[in-house]
Symmetry: C2
Subunit: 559 residues, 2 copies
């Protein structure tokens, strides 16, 4: 059953997360034991038209399902847990996570109807878990969500460390310190291979502390004579806590709006990660009944997402809360690449309503810091772990590359650094590492309920349709002599607006008619030729006239 | 002919450029005399599928064509000159510009076949032009293209100043200083209304000097043991000069690649704006014949544009130049919002080829500075001009808003600041200003050769098609009894890949058949009802099965 050539070797690879930001899924295999770290999703690239989300291709895991001992989850962000509902449907294995992480996962599994069937195992930073020949232990890290851990995997071949997403915050909110001592101890024990977060590898210096933001919030809340709206990532529980603390200090009540914000506030306070004073929370409906300078509204929409609460407030289409002139809106987040325009539009609309908007890069606004460590922190992690081999993960290629340069700078041997694509394996045996054969990896596109039924052809068609639309040409020919019985009728969708282009379409009609007549007189009557000729002649004519290339769909019938 | 209510009044408005970045076109009218400042294009927003460029709606100008005295162009960037080929086709009026600006315009007009018919009038910073009752004069400003000017319009109602795009560069390349003395003099004369560039109104401090970059180039060229590629905006002639100077200082030859780069280098050196030493330029074909450390390649593609020279080099598909491991590539530009991903991908590909890539924000890379002034410079301009009324222009709403706050901060009365949308007018009479009635303004979308034939319906269809594709359902019914004679045939484009979804499409077929049979037995036989019912039933079924909503196009024929 087990493949011989993997036996007694240590294999490390990514099914998602290298050469991209998103769908993190890393695999460590020793002989017949496979441990998976994280199971994330990715939001579609702009050329994946109509796609909702993207998850990793897990063929390798389903092909080796008897070997998979479990999925360890480092923290509860979508790019680390969002793939679970899809993965667990095909691979029923135990999921390990800390309290908040499991809390967030359970919400997802419930929605997907998978909660009952999934074994969930609670861990904390002191847990040890034996997964076949691999022993997993954990260490606390700082990140933009509480309860984030790194993973230490002791295998017969040596120790593999996966940092998870991390920064070093020396003044963390709620005293949730990263466990430097444990990391140092892991490093002292000898690390064979380190996999480390490359998100901010392009950024010099240190990432500022999350607790800087609390002071800023309090200052803004105090100065504002009216309502304050704070939009941030729902999962950034430490930031939510700081909003609550600042509201407390400035005697404001708190309303929570937006589905994911309500959800996270409820889970996090239930599990003890969010400390909300008695009587502070009010319902959104009550906002209007309280003096404007006694209210804070905590909202989703920091990315300008079209359907989010903040966007609806900005467009005056929110059912419960209006933005009034003089209100203050804090956007405590940086746009994820690709979202800049959405956020910009939301800011524009808020300004148009007369709001005072605090936004922009954290260095200007003072109300956002990254959850990922910058170059100095990445070097600190490298020096704590002192790995023999280094694999930069969690980043676009350029970020992995910059991280590799940092590793070289702190003394990792250049030839011991592995730049991987998804599916590339590193094989370790007898203390030596080399690139192994590639395993199947890639994007699985999810559109609606369909998984994997939208492939390159469908995407190419969507792309073509989006550029110049489609023309459907319907003609009926006589079975006897091939003469045109009815049509051609030309239907345009997304090409031109018919009423403004009558002349063009009439001429197109003539082209189709004369093309078909010519073919008939030449005794060409195979369907395929007829269609190809109509397509070519019409396509050429339209390109000459308009410099556009709509998709042309000839429908030729016989009676 | 002239509208009475405009007589003896001064009208100021934008047909493009406020509430957006791009398609700048400002109008100053006194009585029967209209002066237009700039005539730009905008690149399409991401929801304008298939659109090539966007220009302003100039109905107001064509309706008042006899009053338009001329178009003054502040500088040669696309967002200020790119609309000219379209505008001049409908409005044959003189165009005024400085030497380089006219040089760039002439290239465009030649391509459009409009060069012979267009009166072009060369101005310099000392020119005075009488345009009916309006006297135009000019002042030198610093910008990321040489020969940029601001415009001073003296009208019987008072003085209107339009800054053009500007920064204050106290150590400009080629000693092209902004004319502070002239600006101060204009201010001393009393400025009724100032229109000023808001692009960087969100950015604190000063924008660094262009000349900083020259030192950085020289340093990089000197350190590199191999070829250096510099990608930047072709129109940034001062930066091109600095590449040439650094090449000179490090004894490298220069190859120029990319259509617009070749074009600008040729125009700018011909007109004396670019100083290229004898024998420095080599043909791209010669790059391979010269020692790698003796070559610099100047290239387009700093925005990661898919067809540009740099992108093709990064993908190893450029016909003449390959990137070799160890080459240095400098991307001397910041991504325009929306282009971040393209630039990122190009950087990734260059790193994969083994190049050393210098990129990122100017503050990190040292090889880019903005051409627009930051907050302190905007305040300096306001204080030089001391306007009574202020109209922030050239920016998204949030930038205009920040600029308005700066104006307030330096002492412009709050009620004297006008936040305009395109088409909003400011009327000035007897020293007082108020918002006037709105004139027609908006986006004219250009797709291929078509101008204005792609409207909301076509764009909505393209959007729908791009999300879930289209299903064409073809059925032939009997004229006698309405029975199905052939079909239904279902054709999918961009919905699902047929081979993977046979079951779904077979079931869809049955739904169409049973819907039609039911309608027939109920004696429903109007075309419209048949089509609507098929659409609804099939749409409902597909949404239930897939959570997708493809466009459904029923084609029902009778025989």
């Amino acid at each position: 059953m087990s493949k011989k050539n993997n036996q007694d070797k240590l294999l490390i690879f990514a099914l998602g997360g290298v050469g991209e930001i998103g769908k993190n899924m890393y695999v460590v295999q020793y002989g017949n034991d496979i441990v998976v770290v994280d199971s994330g999703l990715k939001f579609p690239e702009e050329d994946m038209l109509g796609i909702d989300i993207v998850i990793p291709d897990i063929t390798y895991l389903t092909d080796n399902r008897d070997k998979v001992r479990g999925i360890l989850i480092t923290h509860g962000h979508e790019d680390h847990i969002g793939g679970l509902p899809y993965v667990l449907r095909h691979l029923n294995v135990p999921v390990y996570g800390t309290k908040l992480t499991l809390g967030l996962i359970e919400g997802k599994l419930k929605e997907a109807g998978l909660l009952g069937d999934t074994k969930r195992i609670l861990i904390n930073a002191d847990s040890e878990v034996q997964l076949g020949a691999i022993k997993a232990s954990f260490f606390k890290v700082n990140h933009s969500i509480p309860d984030a851990v790194g993973v230490c995997l002791d295998t017969p071949e040596g120790r593999v460390v996966h940092t998870g997403d991390f920064k070093f915050d020396h003044t963390p909110v709620n005293n949730q310190y990263a466990d430097l001592q444990r990391m140092a101890e892991i490093g002292s024990g000898g690390v064979l291979a380190l996999l480390s977060d490359s998100t901010n590898a392009e950024r010099p210096g240190f990432t500022p502390s999350e607790s800087n933001i609390g002071r800023e919030f309090e200052d803004i809340f105090r100065k504002s004579q009216q309502r304050v709206v704070v939009a941030t990532f729902a999962s950034n529980v430490h930031r939510l806590q700081q909003v609550i603390n600042a509201a407390m200090a400035t005697k404001r009540k708190l309303a929570v709006i937006g589905r994911s914000m309500v959800n996270v506030v409820s889970i996090a306070s239930e599990l003890g990660y969010l400390n909300i004073p008695e009587g502070m929370i009010i319902e959104p409906e009550e906002v209007g009944k309280i003096a404007a300078d006694r209210v804070v509204i905590l909202s989703t929409g920091s990315q300008g997402e079209p359907m989010s609460a903040l966007t609806r407030m900005a467009r005056s289409t929110h059912r419960k809360v209006d933005i009034l002139p003089g209100d203050t809106v804090i956007i405590a987040a940086t746009p994820i690449p690709g979202n800049e325009k959405y956020v910009g539009r939301t800011v524009d609309e808020l300004f148009r309503l007369g709001a005072n908007v605090i936004y922009g890069p954290g260095s200007v606004s003072g109300v956002h810091v990254s959850g990922h460590g910058s170059q100095e922190e990445l070097k600190l992690m490298l020096n704590l772990m002192k790995p023999k081999y280094f694999i930069p993960i969690h980043g676009e290629y350029r970020m992995l590359r910059q991280h590799a340069l940092l590793a070289e700078a702190v003394g990792v041997e250049k030839e011991n650094i592995f730049m991987l694509d998804n599916g590339d394996t590193v094989e370790l045996q007898g203390g030596a590492a080399r690139k192994g054969s590639k395993v199947q990896a890639g994007n699985v596109l999810i559109d609606g309920l369909g998984v994997g039924d939208v492939g390159n052809i469908v995407l190419r068609d969507r792309k073509l349709l989006s550029q110049d639309g489609i023309l459907v040409v319907v003609v009926t020919l006589s079975k006897q002599d091939g003469a045109i019985v009815s049509g051609p009728d030309i239907i345009s969708r997304g090409f031109v607006y018919v009423r403004e282009s009558e002349g063009l379409l009439e001429e197109a009609n003539r082209i189709v008619t004369s093309t078909l007549n010519k073919l008939m007189s030449d005794n060409v009557n195979e369907w395929a030729s007829l269609k190809t000729n109509v397509k070519d002649a019409l396509g050429r004519f339209l390109y000459e006239q308009t410099r556009r290339r709509p998709m042309i769909l000839p429908i030729i019938m016989e009676v």
